[in-house]
Amino acid sequence: MKYTSQQVAKPYFVFALILFVGQILFGLAMGAQYISGDFLFPYIPFNVARMVHTNLLIVWLLFGFMGAAYYLVPEESNTELHSPLLARISFWVFAAAGVATILGYLLVPYSRLAEITYNDLLPTMGREFLEQPTITKIGIVIVCLAFVYNIGMTILKGRKTVINMVLITGLIGLAVFFLFSFYNPSNLVLDKYFWWWVVHLWVEGVWELILGAILAFVLIKVTGVDREVIEKWLYVVIALALISGLIGMGHHYYWIGPGKYWLWMGSIFSALEPVPFFMMVMFAFKVVKQRRHEHKNQVATLWALGTAVMAFLGAGIWGFIHTLAPVNYYTHGSQLTAAHGHLAFFGAYAMIVMTIISYAMPILRGRPQGNPRTAQRLEKFAFWTMCISMIGITLALTAAGAGQIALQRLPEAGKALSFMNTQEKLIPFYWVREVFGLVFFVGLIAYLSSFFVGKTDKLANA
């Protein structure tokens, strides 16, 4: 660690992982509800569990991104963070707001939560992923502004590397596009059209810049490859991400009201969306092959390569499978969408956060050459367990989606099964998904345990 202010990243990483555990627990509960519909009812109805599952995901990833930025920006800028105090305050504000919101979801009926948070003054609630009370959304904006300001000031006074510039562009985009969450007209079509300006322009737009910047940073550190080479790759990857992803948003506009030209525009551009992810795989492997030194933190390199591969599979391949309009006509809103969502979010975003944590946490804990050997071995086991089980979850959901399409969507009216009857037939696939979910949870426990083992080893960096 070059600068003491990088330490502010630590609570962000720790809290991110705590929320991650919560996310998985609620995921397991929902998986059980797919098998036995009344599981936990009426205490935790499915809609509540789902809201908690997805919101925890978003919030822990944001904590992860913030931790990543607080760690890497001072180092890249060659200067201390502009205000470590502001970073600490916004951590507590964000954490408190996050916990309060989740408790609100769990403790009172949603309509009551809307009432007590005065949603009627500026109604923004009740839309997928944007379920947070308006007051929480305002809190998120304030935290993001404080965060972007802090990171921006640090970059302004320091070295403006490509990684820094790409990261700050992504972060500003994240903050700006979130503002669309406050636009909620009574016209559902307009609501949906601009809802995607938050959701798509985050995950298939500016978040890819953040992903690219973090990955490039970690690769520079663990391989020692010349910055010039890595920066060139980074530009190529994010250029392709934006070129394909911006108009690629059209794949969300097929069936919600906008006109016909989105069918082919969306198809063409979103068919290109796997390209930047493929380039990222090439880039990561090429750079690791050309490495100038053997970093003792081997598992960080594994995460870096893994996130490139899994993002390519989840966002690239599983996205492409159902992105063309004639295909999407049958797959839209099926379990195939859920399959893609799981692998893409895990591969691209959960894994990039674990990549930076795997690299940075040991340093923050005074282990510049990585964790002790036993800890790394356990972390590698966790890596493979989580990756393989997530692929298992994805395959199970893909099979469920294919079954759903065959039974419910493809047959003509009269011959098609109803939604509920179809779901009953898919239960075997949901069992497979749940079992892989449990394996994933084992991997997660192993991952968390890896932070606590090996203290008695002879330190690798001694």
Binding site: L188, V189, D191, Y235, G333, E412
Partner: protein
Amino acid sequence: MAEQFTKSMARNIYYGGGFFFFLLLIGLTVDTMLDLPKRDHRENITIAVAQGKKHWEDNNCIGCHSLLGEGAYFAPELGNVFQRRGGGDEETFKQFLISWMGVQPLPIPGRRKMPQFHLSKQEINELAEFLIWTSRINNNDWPPNIEG
């Protein structure tokens, strides 16, 4: 990557490409906004439809159902529920919705459960108005069949 492909070329593609395609997105959005009134029939968004959307949101319906294919995939698609459960007749659909929501949660063990939301008759009527309006959006004929 080939040596003649320099970092500054890559940078220019990023800034130029990103900027160009963002402008294109804005342009297409303006065009779509001009086109949408013909497709969403916003002239039919009455106070009841708007209130119905509010009830839809206040009870987090999207947490289980999908609407025009978006949302959760735990409960049936509701963009065409007006046709599926009301046969395209407004009165039939409203009557159906009032009785259906009244009997939730269905006492069938193991079946997925819809909570009881305690909506008034008027609120359910507004919800129905919203779903009827939604079913008439020109959305390129999705879903493929009545089952959603």
